[in-house]
């Protein structure tokens, strides 16, 4: 058996495959830099409720067990009573709320939180979440639908 062997066809195929992998990896890094894999410009989305009462800014792509913020801004009309109330249609994996809610209660389809607010200006609430499992995550904050993809 000849020990000097040459497998040019395989070498070429593998080299082509290597080039494809490099292109894919480079693409992923560019996508990551732009935020397509979370924590960046492409990931962030701001949605205003139909009645204009609140604005929600969130990341459409988040990472499992990694904190990501959802910011809710209540327009001053929504805080006339000195309180801002919001209903979440489904539980979200909250790590922290700033400011902390003054009242929280479970509803049949979700939960409601109340925050102290100054009626003269918009109230801002920052919710830090950390999803526990990968996949699609959908919740409604007030009338704003928040859909997120959780990367593993």
């Amino acid at each position: 058996m000849d020990v000097i062997v040459s497998e040019h066809a395989f070498e070429r195929r593998w080299h082509r495959f290597e080039q494809i992998v490099w292109v894919v990896l480079s693409g992923l890094l560019v996508a990551s830099a732009l935020g397509a894999l979370g924590r960046g410009r492409l990931a962030t989305r701001t949605t205003v409720a139909q009645d204009g009462s609140l604005t929600v800014t969130y990341d459409r792509v988040v990472r499992m067990r990694t904190t990501a913020d959802i910011e809710i801004v209540f327009e001053s009309a929504a805080t006339r009573s000195g309180e801002a109330r919001v209903v979440f249609s489904s539980p979200i994996p909250v790590r922290q709320m700033a400011p902390p809610p003054v009242d929280a209660r479970a509803l049949r389809n979700g939960s409601e939180f109340a925050f102290r607010a100054d009626p003269s200006r918009p109230a801002r609430v920052r919710i830090t979440q950390a999803p526990d499992s990968p996949g699609r995550q959908r919740t409604t904050i007030g009338s704003v639908v928040v859909e997120q993809i959780v990367l593993p």
Partner: protein, 147 residues
């Protein structure tokens, strides 16, 4: 169970990345390769173990990787094609006075590296070389003409 899936994904991801990074030329591991392996391993460890720092979880992760490694070694004994994909094939980069620039580019080796190796083998002239092969582990084999 999550640790098992993550460890399997990490093992095959690293196998692919190290494979496409290219073979090392020379028998010893260069400092940048040690760096690469440490950093790749460190990054993956964090992801595999996540927040569970228990010995049990580490044991599950290590056992999974060991089984993956045994599986890859087994599949290599069963399939020649798998062996080629996992380990690569020897690359003939010089034969009977002809350099193979395309293949040299594929394995990212330059003529000077080969000539240095030839000097280390005690050769004085290029025409003493019959074949140069970059082996699957990156080592250079220089076959001399029969004197």
């Amino acid at each position: 169970m999550e640790t098992v899936f993550k460890a399997i994904a990490a093992y095959f991801t690293l196998l692919l990345l190290l494979r496409v990074t290219g073979r090392r030329t020379g028998k010893r591991m260069a400092p940048f390769e040690i760096l690469l392996i440490f950093l790749l391993g460190g990054q993956m460890t964090q992801s595999i173990l996540a927040e569970d720092r228990s010995f049990t979880n580490a044991f599950i992760g290590v056992s999974t990787i060991t089984l993956c490694h045994a599986f890859v070694a087994w599949i290599k004994t069963k399939s020649e094609r798998a062996t080629k994909v996992i380990d690569g094939v020897p690359m003939l980069i010089y034969a009977n006075g002809q350099w193979e620039p395309e293949r040299m580019q594929m394995v990212r080796i330059i003529k000077e590296d080969v000539l240095q190796h030839a000097r280390e083998e005690g050769l004085e002239r290029e025409d003493q070389i019959k074949y140069v092969i970059v082996e699957r582990n990156g080592a250079l084999s220089i076959i001399k003409y029969d004197s």
